[in-house]
Amino acid sequence: MKFNKKGMSAEFLVGLIITLVAGGLLVWTAYDKLSKADDKQAEVICQESINFRAISALQINKNDRDKIDIIKAQIKSPVLCKTIDKKIQGSKEEIMDQMAKKMARCWWMFGEGRYDEILHSSKVHILPAVMGISNEPNKCFNCYNLLIDQDEIKDKDGNEVKSITTEEFMQYLWDTPYIKKVSDCEGTECVSCRTDNDCVSGALCKEEKCQIIASLNYIQYIQQYGGSGMMVTMMPDDIKPHQGYAISILPKTIEQESTNWFKVGGIAVAGTAALVCTIGTGGACFPLVLAIGKIGLGAAVIGTGYDIIQENSPPESPSIEESGATLDPGAKVSIETMFEERRYSSIYISDIQTGQRFCGSGDLAGE
């Protein structure tokens, strides 16, 4: 929903003021409740605050004009979200189900990719043409910290499986339906109807038009429900008991940072290898370079055969060349770069250390 000054009437202005005041009161109330809320309440409060932020954001002189603007501002209501720490337990299938649901829930809470820069705070620039506009650093937020709180993982038949491979998890995300979506009325599907019998090819009669109702899996839900999205896995190992995982939202930015992941190539061998698994490789895990960096994490990967190199490796770590790898020197990508990727709003799942290092956690209330 969006309003412009040109269409403003007194009636609208009064409505707007009432909405803002009511929203403000709600925010104030919710802010108070957030710290005491249980997980489900916290999710709903977060989603509502994002929705309210989206419809109430006041944008002054958003687009550059010929005239010199005195002020340029974007004023947003607070985000009332907090990182939810959750222990999960169950069979292999139940663990995958819970992780998948949390990824989808994180996407839902932050507007399903419908808004640019939804986490950016309010900005007011006086005489922007003279003073310039400062760029905020990229913002991302950990929706969940998940801990697999059990000693072993068993499948649904009770057999111990030790771990869940990333391939299995990726496959689960692709194979499992999550939500139904009514297709936009386009082309041949856009046929007038009165009952379902008037429609063919499985289409149903909705609003007097034949429309296809498609079932979307988890990956499709993130990629193409609401706004365009992307799902990224950055787990240096299989999913194992007693391990923690972060689920993070990285909203799209207007000035898009875009990592050319596939431009990065080459295979690295030897050295300290880390197992990296990504959706871009069908969820497969494979050992790739990793000089263990100061943060204790080596490379991860996404896409087809690409390496992420920890740029500030300590001196004792073998260099890429020393480790026997042949890499295109212009093709190194750091984990930092990956977390700046903003062509699409994205949901990242990573080990908890990586998630906490690169994205904010805690209570966003009031920010």
């Binding site: 969006k2 050319n260 959706i279 490789t281 069908g282 969820g283 996404i302 087809t304 055969g305 042949t326």
Partner: protein, 374 residues
């Protein structure tokens, strides 16, 4: 007159009169300067919007041409896996156009799942946007490259299937995972690239533009379906990076495509029925003809036609056409033989759609030049 009366006069008569005069001046243009300032001030008011722009999503779909190639690949792999034949060949439409550019690429990942004995193929539109996932039951990915038992695998394959020499093992290598995508300027060669992650830095993975096998695939003995990494260079045969790409075209007499077309020993398709589709025939003026008098084969080449072979085969005649831009291929029904070759060729060419008689004339001219050279 009291002061109260003056006020009354001012309010009731003079002020309306003044307002009327101002209005008249405004309307008549007498206050144009003031009018401009007043109206112009509106432009300086801030532009205020409430609410954020809402973005929409699109279905993650491949470009039509690439989708067609992916569909062809999927069908070919599934058909190969279901075939009872071993040591046989098949061909899909190839990825003859680039899978990407400097900024992004479509990627395909083939990952073997031993627990289910199948290969899962993930197709990504760009970055990590997944377009499709399909499974090929019974398929184990393999490549004709690398080394095994101190022997060069592609050389073994080349020697046996192309050069007609003795067979040495191994001539293909089963691998866990294969990636195909576009890579720009890797070792100075930008183009479609095949990568076998378990090979490490080399072989294969240090090459660029190394997936130019024209859609040929090979099936091994136990469900392995192999890709052919290729290498550049004329007559370079094979090495641990793969087989030289000319052995997948008609440029070499004993290329895989020619040997298969001639049904030569050791060469067999994985199924008898070859891909049939409507051929797109380019305009006649773009075609030139090369007559190879020694082997009695006629090849028609231009930059857009990868293969167009006219071949006497006992009592039958075959035409094999594929074009680089259409990625379509057709093989004609066997034609009645027993007629003089040059005349037959001309007659056949004349019957093909979109070709005119000038091609026949050009053919005769070329033939005459060749005869003169001989």
């Amino acid at each position: 007159m009291t002061s109260q009366s003056w006020w009354k006069l001012a309010v009731e008569i003079l002020l309306p009169l003044l307002a009327l005069l101002l209005w008249a001046a405004w309307q008549s243009g007498g206050l144009e300067g003031i009018k401009e300032v007043a109206l112009g001030a509106k432009e300086y008011l801030p532009d205020v919007e409430v609410g954020l722009d809402e973005l929409s999503a699109e279905r993650v779909a491949l470009p039509v041409e690439i989708q067609k190639d992916v569909t062809s690949l999927k069908e070919t792999l599934q058909k190969m896996a279901a075939s009872n034949k071993i040591n046989c060949f098949a061909k899909f439409d190839g990825f003859r156009s680039e899978l990407g550019n400097d900024d992004s690429t479509i990627s395909l990942s083939f990952v073997y799942d031993p627990s289910k004995e199948l290969t899962r193929v993930s197709v990504n539109k760009e970055k990590s946007l997944r377009s499709d996932v399909f499974e090929v039951k019974g398929m184990k990915p393999c490549v004709i490259a690398g080394t095994g038992g101190n022997r060069n695998i592609a050389e073994n394959f080349y020697n046996y299937f192309i050069d007609g020499k003795l067979q040495f093992e191994p001539y293909y290598k089963w691998v866990q995972m294969v990636n195909i995508y576009y890579r720009d300027k890797w070792n100075e060669l930008g183009g479609n690239k095949i990568e076998i992650l378990e090979f490490g830095a080399e072989p294969v993975n240090d090459e660029g533009n190394n997936f130019q096998s024209k859609g040929f695939l090979f099936k091994g003995r136990e469900g392995e379906i192999c890709f052919f990494p290729t290498i550049k260079g004329v007559l370079s045969g094979a090495n641990d990076d793969g087989i030289a790409e000319e052995w997948f075209t008609n440029a070499e007499q004993n290329s895989i495509s020619n040997r298969l077309a001639r049904n030569e020993e050791r060469m067999q398709w994985c199924w008898e029925e070859t891909t049939k589709a409507e051929a797109i025939i380019p305009p006649a003026q773009e075609i030139s003809i090369v007559f190879n008098s020694n082997e009695k084969y006629f090849f028609l080449f231009n930059r857009e036609i990868d293969e167009w072979q006219y071949r006497p085969d006992g009592e039958t005649l075959w035409i094999l056409v594929s074009t680089s831009d259409s990625r379509l291929e057709t093989r004609s029904e066997p034609l009645p033989g027993g007629v003089p070759l040059p005349d037959t060729l001309i007659e056949i060419i004349k019957t093909l759609p979109q070709l005119d008689e000038s091609l026949g004339a050009k053919y005769l001219e070329t033939q005459q030049q060749t005869a003169d050279n001989i």
